[in-house]
Symmetry: C2
C-alpha cells in the first residue's frame, strides 16, 4: 500500500501544496478538513511570546469544536503583534470562505522564522487551489507541507475497536519537542473518526501529550508556535466516548501509542541527530524531581556531545544530575547504560570500557539513573548534539 492508502481517516480530507513560501519549491501550505464539525482539543506552547496563530487557536478551541486546520511552513508569524493576528485571521477567513464553514471552525498554525510577517498574498492566493485539491489520501501531502528542517515525514496511523465499531486515528507532526522543542515549532495534528464527548477529549489528549510530546527534548528550547491539536469527528458511529466510560481508557491507550510513535520520530529527526537516547530517572521522591533530573541530563551539551562522539564519558551524566539543586544521596545513586552498572556507592565502576564503547556506538541507547530516594520515575527521549545541529542552526535564518 502507498502511504496515501494507509493514512486515511473516514470523514477527513487533506491537502498540501507549494504556494511560493519555500524557495526550494517544496509544499508549504497544508489543509485538513473534516466533513462535519469535530470535537476538538489542543495543547499549546507555554512560551510568553505566543505566535499569532497560537493565540487565535487558544481562543477558538475553547468551544471544543473545529472543522479545519490550515497550516503554513516557512514563516512562524510570531513576534508580529496585532498585525500578525490580523494576518492569521485573514488566512482563516480565506479558508473558511473557500470551505463554506463558519470562520470560528478553522484553526491556524504556522512554523518557520520568528519576526516576519506572513506572505499573505502567496498564502491566500493558494487557498482556492488547496481546498479544491482536498482528497481522502491527502494526509501525507499535508504532512509534507508542514515540514521545515525535518529530514523525513512523521506520520502514523492506528485502528481500534470501540463498542464493536472500528475507529481510525492518524497523526502528523513536524519539528522536535514540545515542552522543549526545537527550531521554531513542533506541530502535531491528530485526526480520528471516533465519537468522543468534548469534555472527555480534552483531558485525555492532555494526558497523552504529557507522556509523549512532553517527554522528549532535542535542545531544551521552547518554541513560540508549538501546537498539538486533535479533531474527532464521530464518523465511525460508535457510541460517544464519555468521561468515566470504559472505552475512554482503551482509546487513550491507542492515542498515547500513536503520539509516542510521532514523538520518537521527532527525536530521531532532531536536527542533526545521529542517536536516540532514552533516559529514565527512577527512585525519585517526586515526579517533578524525576523530570528535573531527566531534563538536566537530556539537555546537557556535554552529555549530548559525548553520545555523538560515542565517548563513554559517563561522568558527565552524573555531573548533570548532580547540578539541578536536588540533594541526591550520592552513595545511593546508581547509573546504568543499557545493562552496564557504571556508578554505585559514590564511585565509578571501571573495567567496562570495551563493552561501554560498543554500546555507545549504537543508534539507540538507554540510560537509567536510580536516585535511591523514592519510587517515582520519568522517562524522556533525546538526541545527540552534533556538528550538523550547529551547521543547521547557525544558518537557518538567512
Amino acid at each position: 500500500m502507498k502511504p496515501s492508502d494507509v493514512h486515511r481517516v473516514p470523514g477527513f480530507l487533506a491537502n498540501g501544496i507549494h504556494t511560493g513560501i519555500k524557495p526550494n519549491g517544496g509544499k508549504d501550505l497544508a489543509l485538513i478538513f473534516s466533513i462535519r464539525p469535530a470535537a476538538a482539543a489542543g495543547v499549546f506552547t507555554t512560551n510568553c511570546f505566543k505566535a499569532a496563530p497560537v493565540l487565535l487557536d487558544m481562543e477558538r478551541i475553547r468551544s471544543g469544536v473545529a472543522q479545519a486546520v490550515i497550516a503554513n511552513s516557512g514563516v512562524a508569524n510570531a513576534a508580529t503583534g496585532s498585525e500578525g493576528l490580523s494576518d492569521a485571521l485573514a488566512v482563516s477567513r480565506a479558508a473558511s470562505a473557500e470551505l463554506g464553514i463558519a470562520d470560528e471552525m478553522v484553526l491556524v498554525a504556522s512554523t518557520g522564522v520568528i519576526g516576519h510577517r506572513l506572505p499573505l498574498r502567496k498564502i491566500i492566493g493558494g487557498v482556492k487551489r488547496l481546498a479544491a485539491g482536498l482528497h481522502v489520501g491527502g494526509i501525507p501531502d499535508a504532512e509534507a507541507a508542514i515540514m521545515t528542517t525535518d529530514r523525513f515525514p512523521k506520520i502514523a496511523s492506528r485502528k481500534g475497536v470501540i463498542g464493536k465499531k472500528e475507529v481510525t486515528l492518524c497523526g502528523i507532526a513536524k519539528g522536535a519537542g514540545m515542552i522543549q522543542p526545537n527550531m521554531a515549532t513542533m506541530l502535531a495534528f491528530v485526526m480520528t473518526d471516533a465519537a468522543i464527548a468534548r469534555d472527555a477529549l480534552d483531558p485525555m489528549f492532555r494526558q497523552s501529550v504529557a507522556g509523549s510530546f512532553n517527554a522528549i527534548s532535542v535542545d531544551g528550547c521552547m518554541s513560540t508556535n508549538d501546537t498539538a491539536v486533535i479533531l474527532a469527528n464521530g464518523v465511525a458511529g460508535n457510541h460517544p466516548i464519555r468521561r468515566g466510560s470504559r472505552y475512554l481508557g482503551a482509546f487513550g491507550e491507542i492515542l498515547s501509542d500513536l503520539l509516542s510513535e510521532l514523538a520518537r520520530g521527532l527525536v530521531r529527526d532532531g536536527e542533526g541527530a545521529t542517536k536516540v537516547i532514552e533516559i529514565t530517572v527512577a527512585g525519585a521522591r517526586t515526579l517533578p524531581d524525576a523530570q528535573r533530573v531527566a531534563y538536566a541530563i537530556a539537555n546537557s551539551n556535554l552529555v549530548k556531545t559525548a553520545f555523538f562522539g560515542g565517548d563513554p564519558n559517563w561522568g558527565r551524566i552524573i555531573s548533570a544530575a548532580g547540578s539541578v539543586g536536588i540533594d541526591l544521596p550520592v552513595d545511593q545513586v546508581r547509573l546504568f547504560i543499557e545493562d552496564l552498572l557504571l556508578f554505585a556507592e559514590g564511585t565509578g565502576i571501571g573495567g567496562r570500557e570495551r563493552e561501554l564503547a560498543e554500546i555507545m556506538a549504537r543508534p539507540e541507547i538507554k540510560v537509567r539513573l536510580e536516585l535511591g530516594m523514592g519510587r517515582r520515575a520519568w522517562t524522556i527521549c533525546t538526541s545527540d548534539l552534533t556538528l550538523d545541529y550547529v551547521k543547521i542552526n547557525a544558518h537557518y535564518h538567512t
Copy 2:
C-alpha cells in the same frame, strides 16, 4: 616585561611541571605556596557529586587559613568515592611533607576526566621536583599546569594602595564558567599580599565571585570540581582589612575587577568559542527573575548557534526569554542588540537587517532585554556554540 615579572605577589612562590599525566608532555601539576600561613576563603561547586579534592578543601577551608595549593590537570578525581578521598589526602600529604607545613594547610584541586583514579605514582613522584622548583616568577607555570582544553592562559594582576601600603593581587584560572561551567572544571586561585581579617575575606570573596565567575556561562553545565580560592598572606604589612573598614570596599573593587578579567577570559576561551556575548536583562521585578531570563538566553543552543552563524535571528532570543515560566508583559518587552531596537510593543521592528548583520559579525556583541516589570538587572557573558565545541566535547574523553 615577561609575564613572570608582571605576575608576582610578595610572599608567594609557585611552580608547574610535567609529571606524565598529560600525554602531550604539557605541564600537569601546579603548586602555589605562601611563605607564611594566609587567610583563606573558597567558593566551591554546588553539584551533589563533588569531587574528592572539593570535599577535602571545603572541610579544610573552614579554619580560614591555608598556606599551599596543589592542583593537577588531566584527571578530575571525581566519582571516585572513598578511594578518591584517600588519593587526594595522599597528594596533600606529599606536598605538606615536602614543604614542611601542617597537612591541614594544604588545599588540593583536580581537573580533567570524571571517574578515573588519580595517577598517584606520577603525581607524588613529581612533588619533590615541583617543590624544589618553587620561585617568585612561577605563577605562569602554575597556570600552565592547570590548563586542559584552554587555548590561552588566564592570568591577571592588580596593584592598589591600602592605608599607604601597596598591595598586589594575582589570579589564575582555567576552564569556563562557575555556576554553569564547562568541561570538568573551572579552577581559580587568587593570591594577594594584603592583610585581611578572615571573617572579612570570606564574604568579600563570595560577593566578588558572584559578580564575575557566577555571571558567565559557556554551556550551562556545572562541574563536579569547580573551585575558586583566595589566599591573603599579609606580607604587604597593611593594617589588616576588617569588616566595616573603609578599605574593605576598596579592596573588594580591585578584587572584583581582577576576577571579572579572568571570567571574561574564560568565556572568550569557551570551548570552540568565536564570540563573546554580553547579555543584560533589565527591568526585572526581582534579581532571580533577571538571572533566570539571562541564563535562559545565554544557554539556549538556538541563540548560541545563531550568534556563531552571524545570523540575525533575534526571534530566538525572545523565544528563550519567554520560555522560563515568568509571565512577561509581552507588549512592554524591548530587545536591543547593541543600539538597535529590534522588538517592542509585541512586534519585531523590520528594516534593520543590514545594520544587524554587521553587528552580528563582531567578536563581542551586547544584547539588552528590557522586561518592563521592575528595576532589577543582571548581566552575564556567554559564548557562541560552534562546530569546534562539538568536536572538542565529542572526543575529549578518549
